[in-house]
Symmetry: C2
Subunit: 335 residues, 2 copies
């Protein structure tokens, strides 16, 4: 069974290949009679257009690349999922680019854009700086999620980590806490730094002293939360409340607390960050700042597709709001 091409269909339907092509690209320009003949021939021959040829001719692939730090993290994969849904709707394929946070891999993937393997790229929480991204994409369609584009003009959608962290800390202060600790993410990460700043600002605004011994640097993962939690809770002046820069670290603290017999939220109130799936299922359920993951994905996809199709974008700088999800771990007002 040889490959059947447009020529075969044309012959069978007694028309030219142009007419067959038009049936796909612009059916209205074909008379009903011929259209039906063509459709019939397509059916009978089980013809499938060859997308490779079409791609070359149109110089596009109908696929986009999503560069993502790690698909095992539900924050990232939720965004990815939203992107895929939006893309599917418009007939675009999604190519997966998992980087494990290696800048080198990000660069590699960006290559696919230059080689025209994809029509556009969405970068989730990239390691590369916007300026470098700009340099290696040369004006081709890119959207950044989770960071600003600085002065490159690259469209982006992000949340405000400074503000969200401020809100989380403020919530604990309003519950009556005065000795509030903080577990940060790695300091080479801008998101970590922004979140730490938000904590500091909230404390300062309420005239609360930040005790340096209550502020530690973790790595976002559960193990560091556990280790720091053990240290923090065993010390003489343990805090009465804690903000962590990720839910995983908060859950690590939960485990440490359980081990030390520290009851949560009575003896220690906690607010995490991210609203991963586990946050609602752990014991006690974790209060947390939730990013609007679906919005992130949907907005980014829409932006990118507009870029690809040369449609105007209303707003190239989108800011979405995180939401404080109050569960049991932060307790009720202190008396």
């Amino acid at each position: 069974m040889r490959k059947v091409t447009m020529g075969d269909v044309a012959k069978k339907a007694n028309v030219s290949v142009a007419t067959v092509s038009r049936v796909y690209t612009d059916p209205d320009k074909v008379s009903v009679a011929k259209r039906d003949k063509v459709l019939l021939a397509i059916q009978e021959l089980h013809y499938q257009p060859n997308v490779l040829a079409r791609n070359l001719r149109r110089m596009q692939t109908n696929s986009i690349l999503v560069i993502i730090p790690n698909i095992l993290n539900t924050v990232f994969s939720s965004i990815l999922n939203a992107i895929q849904m939006a893309a599917l709707e418009k007939g675009y394929q999604v190519i997966l680019g998992s980087t494990n946070r290696l800048p080198e891999l990000e660069r590699n993937y960006l290559h696919l854009l230059q080689q025209r393997v994809v029509d556009g790229v969405i970068m989730l929480f990239p390691q590369l700086k916007p300026s470098e991204i700009q340099k290696s994409t040369k004006g081709r369609p890119v959207v950044i999620v989770g960071h600003e584009g600085s002065d490159t003009g690259i469209p982006y959608v992000t949340n405000d980590n400074f503000h969200s962290s401020y809100v989380a800390t403020k919530h604990l202060i309003q519950l009556g806490h005065r000795s509030i600790g903080y577990i940060a993410g790695p300091m080479d990460n801008i998101i970590s730094r922004e979140r730490l700043r938000g904590y500091h600002y909230a404390m300062e605004q309420s005239d609360l002293e930040v005790n340096k011994e209550l502020v530690h640097e973790g790595d976002f993962y559960i193990g560091s939360g556990y280790a720091i939690g053990l240290k923090l809770l065993a010390s003489a002046n343990a805090p009465s409340a804690l903000v962590t820069a990720s839910d995983e670290m908060a859950i690590g603290v939960l485990q440490a607390a359980k081990e030390l017999g520290v009851s949560i939220p009575e003896q220690l109130a906690i607010v995490g960050f991210d609203d991963i799936k586990m946050a609602s299922l752990c014991e006690p359920a974790l209060s947390t700042m939730a990013q609007p993951k679906e919005d992130f994905g949907k907005i980014a996809a829409d932006m990118l597709l507009s870029l690809i199709m040369d449609q105007p974008i209303e707003n190239r700088q989108m800011l979405v709001q995180d939401q404080l999800v109050v569960r049991r771990s932060c307790g009720s007002p202190r008396t």
Copy 2:
């Protein structure tokens, strides 16, 4: 800045396009002198081969499609991740096909294979029957993960759900339990049925009666585990142990138990299925049957790539072993 093509490079290097092409595809056939000239010209012009043209000419895309029920589930996404790593190593792109378990979407995605958008497909736990898959792929490269290919000859890699469920149940029996309940997955799912069979077989083999009131059908998700758990634990003849067909349902039972003041594992021993991330983090940590997710992915990818490259496959029917991971939730031997 116009697009630069192979012709431009050829002109600049004073060679034919054929030679330029060879520098990419078969460098050994080009004299060192000319090769260097070409390489230099490529550098100077910042030439990037146009993959679209290459694809058309070679009639391949260097990308594979992974059809996956849901990327938010860590069992699936771990496999996807392993596939992506293996594919990347061999220069293949991974296209994501999330279906939310809709057979209709699976069919749609399979279309991409016929249209040559991808060189091959890996289907993770497909809804479609092997016979239907065979029909719509017509001998093009496909690999199934998690089900057998029945008599279609489609290569597959799967685990033995019957046996694994047998092992899980047997473990509880050996700990001294005699009244063992079971929460099954949806019965229209073959995996659910196999797991249920394994439970029955283990009971039978040990001359234990299966009490029908202790066997319930859930939907794999946490909510159903919770609901069934409440019912089961409140009843007069609650079991002393429980096997669930998924970790999520087991965690639902954990929540129900906490609410009812039933202590785990003392009053109820539990073994789950899947070893999702939460299993090791919940309280108490969950004993569970773990699928070898990395193996699944790696094997499937290697099979598919062999298929694509027309290399012989050692074994088209691969069986991998699940592993019982013993944690606290199943307790110690009864006295």
